[in-house]
Symmetry: C2
Subunit: 217 residues, 2 copies
DNA sequence: CGTCATCTTGATTACGCTCAAGCTCCGTGG
DNA sequence: CCACGGAGCTTGAGCGTAATCAAGATGACG
C-alpha cells in the first residue's frame, strides 16, 4: 500500500536550498511515508529527485539478501541519478519525507534544459566524489575508523539537526560493511573513551572533536 | 626522473576506440614509463586523459601508508575526471603506456566543446557506475567472491589480452581491500577447484566459467 | 648463474561475525 | 497511569575469516 501522493506545488514550504533551480520550479512534490519505497532496484531511471524534507536511503540487495547501503540523502540533496537506464540501487524513505520529482523529458524551454543540465552535472559530480570516499572507507578502514568517519560525516550533513541519527543500526552497518553488533560495540567503545556521548540510541553529541577527526582521518 | 614526453600527434597509431572524438583530435599524446606517475593526489585537476596503449592505475594513500586502488584503465578508457578541482586519487602507469591528454580550456570551437562535453559525461557516468560496483564488492563480498569478481571483470575489460594480469598481487589486494597473502591463497584455492588455471603468476585462463560467474554473482 | 623482487605457503593471531541472551525504549491498551 | 509487548539495541561467548609474521619458491634480469 503506497502512501505516496503528489502535493500541490504551491504548498507552503520553507526553502531548504539557497537558490531556486529547475527541479524547484518544475518538479512535482511527493510525500512518502517512513520505509516506503521511492524507486526500486532495476526500475527504469528517468526521473530526478530532490529531498525537500526528511531523509532518504539508497540500497542494493544481493540475491542472498546481503544488503549494501549506497548513501543517505538530506534536504537539498539530489538523488536517483544513475548511469544506466535502470536503477542499480533502490531508494526508500528513511523517515516520512517530501521529495520533489522531475521527469527530464518534461522540460519545455532551452533555458530549463540548461539549468537542469547544470544541476544534474553538479549532483553527479558530488555523487562520484562521495562514492570515492565510500570506497576508501570500505576498503581500508577498520571498524573503529568506519564508525568514527560515519558519525563525523553525518554530523556535517545533518546541519541543524546535527547529532541526530535518523537511520537504524542496521542501516549504519549496511552502509559501513559491518554487522549491527559491531556497530553497537564500536559506538560503546567510543563512548567509553569519552569521544562521543549518546542520549538514547538515536541522538549523540561529540565530546572530543579532535579525537573523532583523527580516527576518521 | 620523468620519462614522460609528448609524441607527435600524427604518429602512426592503431585505432583503439571505434569513433574519433574531441580527445582523439585535439589531445596531446604522452608516453609514460612503467611505474611513472601521471598525476598526483592533490594535484590540480583540469586535464582529461585517455589511455591509448598500456594500462593505468589510480590509487589513493592514507597518511599511514594504507593504499586503496581506485580502478584500472585500459586502452580507450577515459580517466582523470574528478569532481573537485583537486585529484583525490593519483594515477600511475601500470605498464609502459601512451596516454592522450587534453586541457579543457584549450578548446576552440563550440562543436569541440559539445563533443567533449558528451565524452566527459559518458566517462563520468561510467566512472560512477563502476564506483557503485566497487562499493558493493568492498562492502559485502567475501575474499573468495572479491577475487572471483576481479578475475571475471578483468577478463571482460582486457579484451584481446584476456587472461593477462598487468598488475601485481599488491595492486589487486589494494583494489579488493585485502592483503597480498589473501589474494594469493584465494587464487590458489580457485585453481585447486579447477575454476581457473594460471601459467606463471601474470596469466591465467578460466576453466569453469559458470562457477566463476556464480562466485562473482 | 646469481641476485633481488615478487609470489606462494605455513603458523599463529586478531578483528569482526555469529549465535544467544538481556535490556531499552515506545507505542498500545487495559 | 501503568502494565504489557515487541522491535531495536546492547552485551557476552565462541568461532571463523582474513591479517600478520615468517620462511621458502619462483621468476625476471643483469
Amino acid at each position: 500500500m503506497s502512501l505516496a501522493y503528489p502535493l500541490h506545488s504551491s504548498s507552503a514550504q520553507h526553502a531548504v536550498d539557497t537558490c531556486a533551480d529547475a527541479i524547484e520550479r518544475l518538479g512535482v512534490k511527493m510525500a512518502f511515508a517512513k520505509d516506503e519505497e521511492i524507486y526500486a532496484q532495476d526500475e527504469e531511471a528517468d526521473l530526478i529527485y530532490r529531498v525537500v524534507s526528511g531523509v532518504v536511503r539508497t540500497s542494493r540487495l544481493m540475491s542472498d539478501g546481503r544488503r549494501q547501503v549506497g548513501d543517505f540523502y538530506y534536504p537539498g540533496d539530489i538523488f536517483g541519478l544513475e548511469p544506466g537506464d535502470e536503477h542499480r540501487y533502490s531508494a526508500e524513505a528513511l523517515t516520512d519525507c517530501v521529495v520533489q520529482v522531475l521527469k527530464q523529458s518534461a522540460l519545455r524551454t532551452q533555458a530549463d534544459e540548461e539549468a537542469l543540465a547544470r544541476v544534474v552535472w553538479e549532483a553527479t559530480t558530488r555523487e562520484l566524489e562521495r562514492a570515492h570516499e565510500h570506497v576508501m572507507l570500505l576498503g581500508r578502514k577498520s571498524a573503529f575508523e568506519k564508525v568514527a568517519s560515519f558519525l563525523s560525516d553525518i554530523t556535517r550533513r545533518g546541519k541543524g539537526r546535527s547529532g541526530d541519527l535518523p537511520m537504524s543500526r542496521q542501516d549504519i552497518a549496511d552502509y559501513l560493511g559491518l554487522t549491527i553488533e559491531t556497530v553497537s560495540r564500536t559506538i560503546s567503545k567510543l563512548q567509553n573513551q569519552a569521544i562521543i556521548e549518546f542520549e538514547g540510541c538515536r541522538h549523540f553529541k561529540i565530546c572530543n572533536d579532535a579525537a573523532l577527526a583523527r580516527l576518521a582521518e
